[in-house]
Symmetry: C2
Subunit: 263 residues, 2 copies
Amino acid sequence: MDTKVYLLDGGSLELDHSQLFWGRSPGRRVRFPVYSVLVEHKDGRFLFDTGFNKEVFDALNPGNAQQTDAQTIPGALALIGLAPRDITHVLNSHYHLDHVGGNKFCTCATTVCHKLELEAAANPEPFEARGYADMSFAPHLRRTRTDLGAADDIYTPRFECVTGDQEIAKGVTLFETPGHTPGHYSLMVRLAHRRPMIFTGDACYAQRSIDLGAISGSHVDPRAGYRSMQRLQDLAQEHDAELFFSHDGDAWPNYVKAPGYYC
Amino acid sequence: MDTKVYLLDGGSLELDHSQLFWGRSPGRRVRFPVYSVLVEHKDGRFLFDTGFNKEVFDALNPGNAQQTDAQTIPGALALIGLAPRDITHVLNSHYHLDHVGGNKFCTCATTVCHKLELEAAANPEPFEARGYADMSFAPHLRRTRTDLGAADDIYTPRFECVTGDQEIAKGVTLFETPGHTPGHYSLMVRLAHRRPMIFTGDACYAQRSIDLGAISGSHVDPRAGYRSMQRLQDLAQEHDAELFFSHDGDAWPNYVKAPGYYC
C-alpha cells in the first residue's frame, strides 16, 4: 500500500500580523488556516496535529475561531470514511491549543510527543500558560509532576515520549525544530509518486515567515526559532522536499484537502 | 562628598505598544523617553547608558527620533557644567543603539560591560543586528573576533569586561538582568538621603510592563526576561529601593532631571 497524506481542514483563526510575524507591521489583523495531517501508512494511521477545540477558543477569545462541524477531527475524518478510533498514533508538533484540540477524540491512539514539550505543557512558563490552555487530552497532566512519561495520567491509552529526530515509521520522520516551544517537531513524509512533504508546524507559519525573516511572535527561544526556520529550509533542500506551512493563508488555497490526498 | 544622581534627558522615540509590551495591543504608537544616568561619586563619574545618536536613528527610521542639542550627551552634561571628558566610567545596561549613542564622546572613560553583551554586539544574532546598529563607540569590534576583552580595538581607552553582579564602587552595583539581551545589567545606587535607586534598563521598560506582565517585544530569551523582571521587583523589596524605568512615558514627568539631582 502506498502511503497517502490527507490534509484535514480545521477552520481558521485570526491574529495580528505582528504576532504571526514577530514585530512586523502591527495593527493589521490576519485570518489564517488551521489543519491536521493524516498519514495513512502500512504501519498505522498517523495524525499530525489535531486543530483547535472551538469551545476552548471561544472562551478565551470570543468571535475569533471559525470552525464548522466538518472542520472538527471527527467531522474531517468522516469525509474520508474514518472515525477517531481509527487513528493509531497522534503526533503533535507541539501542545499549543490550536494543535491539540482533537487529541481527546483519538482514544485508541498512542500519543507520541517530545519529552520537553510534555514538560512545558505540564508546567508552562507563565507567559505560555494561555498557549497551553487546552489540556483536555491529558486532564491530569498538570496535577502530577512526578513521572511525565507514565501513561496512566494521559487520556489516550499510550503515551510515548521521544527526543531527537525520530523516524517513527518508514518514511515518516519527526525533526526537532524548537524555539516556538521547547519540544517542537516538524514532520517529513516520503511518498511514492511525489517529492517528500515537510510539515513545518509552527516553526514556520508561512512562506511569508521566510520572506520576512520573521519567526512567530509567540516563542520561548527566538535564537532556536531562527535556527529551526533555517533548518527547515536546509532539510527541504537536502531531501528535495516541499515545505507545507502551518498557518499560511496564501498557500492554503493551493493545498489539496481531504477527501483529496497526496501519494 | 555625598553621591549625586543626575538623570540626563536624551529625547524620545516611538514604538508600537506591542513592541514595548510584548504582543499587547498592537496598532497603537507610543512615544517614550530615553535618558542617561550620571552618578557623581567620590571614586569617579559613572555614566549609565548614553542615549541615542539621532543621525543613526534617522538613517534607520526617519522621523522617529526627537532630540535637541541639549538632549545629546555633550549638551546634557553641559547643563551641569561638565563635558564628556569628565566621565571616568561608562556603564551600559546593554549595547542597543538607544543606550550607547553618546559612548563615543566619552574618550577618557573606562567602559565597563558584561562579557556576554560585548560578544552579542560583536556577533549579533541576525534578528538583533538592527538593535546593535550603532557601534560608533567600538568601530573595530565587528572586525576583530579574537580577544574581545582586549582594549586596543575599542574607542574608549579602557574596556573592562565583567560578569555576575558587581559592586563597581561603594554603593554602585550592577545586577545581572538578562533576557532583553544576553548581557544586560541593571544598576542600583545607594544615596545618603533617600531610598536606593534601581535603574532597570530595558529589563523593565515601565511600570506598565509589571502591571501587564509583559517584557519588551525585543528580546533574545523571554524566559530569562521574565525572571529578570521579577528579580528587579525582588531587589526593590529586599533593598527598599525605588525602581526607575528606562522608557516610561507616564513616570518620566515625575522624575527629577538635570540640572536637578537625587542625593
